[in-house]
Symmetry: C2
Subunit: 419 residues, 2 copies
């Protein structure tokens, strides 16, 4: 199990200036997106920097659902600034951008593709030391404050890919439930679906001892190592919280108990999947967001078409778990039960459909678009969606059930309509 | 939550040589105790060092239940050897000794009391860099592979105290269930009681937001921060494993499922209490072992009187939880239920006695000595036992219920006889 350093509590953001001082930081870069730069979470962090006499520059040009181009801009800013520490205040888009900026500013002679995962990048291991990065998540979804992953849209191929290395994991995550009050309801819902899928996928991922190849030298083993007894604890715990609190959190911004719990669940699921990995929902989600046409997501204050990450993963989940359930049906049934399905009379052979029904019911209850068709895809797009999934081997090979291109086609097709 | 890096699996000990190579270690110190030095766990680690061409020296003079004197000897060895990495293969005694050796060899001009906790030591923060330490636990108890704590008997005062700093936490814990096969049954039982009490005490410890003082600068906050939503997960999970597997693990050395699970539970509970802390069972245990007269523990292959740590904590547990239950009765009842008590008709006011009964039943089932009287203490010793508890403020102040000297007396008295 890899390390994650987090501190939780209402108002912990106010401590960020002191943490930076304790680290001896003198020239700090605070990253965020344009929308958040006007909101209280960023203000609270800035106040703390000022109060502690920390010099800083703000970069608020993070792109929501970042791209190689938007990463590059942030990297340029970081290189010029010669910062000695970073603070990321925002959702996964901000935290991931900040990880990339820190990495490439610390390794100024690397090409951008050097650290990007194979097969698109070279997947080089990181051996340079990075600067401290404190992540303050404002969504309850990615768990990026606990993971060594940074995801972006690679525009030349119109596909989402990532950089994965323990080296880019934030030094500290400050999990402050106060920030969840400001989230619009679709951001709560979509980022909550991300938590849901991190938990479900890491719990049902290929077990660590069945993964192959298994490099004999521990240093060569992937960060995503398959499900294991430790990630299982985090996954199940996060799933229980989602089951209990997600609907309440979406529906009532003042339900601080629900929103706080989802905020923690995001980090828990992050620690789980950061060690175990995710599989098909995530692997298939990358082309779903990468190939977006004109879909505009409600409540996302941005000027470009966008399929929010959480939505892009959850829309295929009923099809995916129907497909994978035959491998570890007990685990699939167990998660269905946690999500509220009555499994007393369910047969083990029904595990897939039972879980899929529980998921569909949750999505319908939360007014989620009716499948890929509702966000602009049709049958004609399936070959491109499949093609965009193939390079996602890093995750798809963690599916408990191996999948052919035909299987992937069928999964996309089954996800066109949900209800 | 603080960090803990662990790797789990049958045979992971065989990778220790490669891990050291990856760290660039060229001159390694392997620590263990005399008994273990003749057993397979140490052999497996040594084979791996040889196979990977790592130069090493063995120090097998670790004292079971270490003292300041035995720590000092190990420190001298470490200073002379100028090692660039350490491997500890053994129980808490070995791992703790190795932590101390690494610390003081890295800080050669410090006095021994500099880093020892107040009020007996000076409790100085550690600012020197330490060498990597890989811990390979062979008992299923202390969780020392995950904690920043090293405990020893301070002979001048005949009391157990500790060194506590995140800096001494092992770089990596290799949790290898194969080693559990060799443990004699009393070592399984006593170290299992340690896990039980780590879980129970950290789950019932004063919640983190009720602890005082609460230093405004995060760097000054203690490692033991009170119970919190993250340590709770580890504690409850460890407790469930103890409830399910401890008896089986004690009774049948070939029940690898039970022993493996207890081995993991030890690390889980360690991560929990390493963040939340422990309270009265541990605080009172230190004089119970420190003042030992002639008691010889069955199955412990040593030449001195000794109250094994796990036994010294568990003997007061029925009295302690009867005393603390009035503060968080629901949590006490919940743990009783996990331990197998029928709580359907229990009233909240009965939480303490219900949990105490569940504990007594477990101890009786596992043939544990009948209280402090059975290990050589009488009423006349109570003042000395109380006096030895008073300096344990680091933990006793985490008790959910404050306690006077009279309370402590009464707790020792109530623990003289259990059944
Ligand atoms: N690194 C990882 O481990 C990981 C894991 C999963 C997903 N991701 C990536 O993270 C990105 C998605 O991140 P996300 O879902 O956290 O959302 P986001 O960062 O894309 O933000 C979504 C929108 O919500 C707004 N917002 C965020 N917090 C707010 C708040 N408290 N109040 C009001 N508005 C707020 C933002 O301004 C933005 O408009 C995707 O690129 C995805 O691929 C990364
Ligand atoms: N650092 C921490 O976080 C922490 C926590 C709790 C306790 N402790 C301390 O740890 C010490 C107790 O450690 P422990 O309970 O792990 O036991 P131990 O290290 O004292 O070992 C007990 C006995 O068991 C033998 N043994 C150990 N593993 C064996 C195996 N696999 N096969 C056969 N024999 C084996 C040892 O040789 C020894 O004789 C105490 O000093 C206690 O205060 C430390
Ligand atoms: Fe995700
Ligand atoms: Fe202990």
């Amino acid at each position: 199990m890899a390390v994650s350093n987090i501190r939780y509590g209402a108002g912990v953001t106010k401590e960020v200036g002191m943490d930076l001082q304790n680290m001896g930081a003198k020239n700090v870069c605070l990253m965020t997106d344009r929308n958040l730069s006007q909101l209280p979470p960023v203000q609270m962090a800035l106040d703390s920097l000022v109060k502690n006499g920390i010099n800083f520059k703000v970069y608020d040009n993070v792109r929501v659902e970042p791209t190689d181009r938007s990463f590059m801009e942030a990297i340029e800013f970081a290189k010029k600034g010669a910062f000695d520490a970073y603070v990321a205040v925002g959702g996964g888009s901000t935290i991931d951008t900040c990880k990339a900026a820190n990495l490439y500013a610390s390794s100024p002679h690397s090409d951008f593709l050097d650290y990007v995962s194979v097969p698109i990048g070279k997947g080089k291991p990181v051996s340079v030391p990075l600067k401290p990065l404190i992540a303050v998540p404002t969504t309850s979804g990615t768990g990026s404050e606990t993971t060594g992953v940074a995801i972006f849209d690679y525009e030349p191929l119109k596909v989402k890919i990532g950089i994965g290395s323990r080296a880019i994991k934030p030094t500290l995550g400050l999990i402050d439930p106060l920030h969840t009050r400001h989230m619009p309801d679709r951001v709560v819902a979509n980022s909550g679906f991300d938590v849901l899928c991190h938990a479900l996928e890491s719990y049902t991922a290929l077990p660590y001892h069945m993964r192959s190849p298994c490099p004999s030298n521990p240093i060569s083993r992937p960060a995503y190592q398959g499900s294991n007894p430790i990630s299982d604890i985090w996954a199940v715990h996060a799933l229980r919280i989602v089951a209990k609190y997600l609907k309440r959190a979406v529906r009532n911004p003042d339900d601080l108990e629900a929103r706080s719990n989802m905020h923690l669940a995001s980090a828990f699921a992050g620690i789980g999947f950061g060690n175990a990995g995710v599989h098909l929902c995530h692997g298939m989600s990358y082309p779903i967001s990468g190939l977006v046409k004109t879909y505009k997501a409600k409540d996302y204050n941005v000027d470009h078409p966008l399929v929010p990450h959480g939505l892009s993963v959850v829309l295929t989940s009923p099809a995916v778990f129907t497909f994978t359930a035959q491998m570890f049906p007990e685990r699939h049934l167990e998660t269905a039960e946690i999500l509220g399905a009555d499994t007393r009379t369910a047969r083990i052979a029904d595990a897939g459909p039972v879980l899929a029904d529980a998921l569909r019911k949750l999505l319908l209850d939360l007014d989620v678009d009716d499948g890929l068709a509702a966000i602009g895809y049709s049958k004609a797009d399936i070959p491109a969606l499949v093609k965009g999934t193939l390079p996602q081997e890093r995750v798809t090979k963690l599916s408990p059930r191996p999948q052919s291109e035909e299987d992937l086609s069928a999964l996309f097709e089954a996800s066109m309509k949900l209800y």
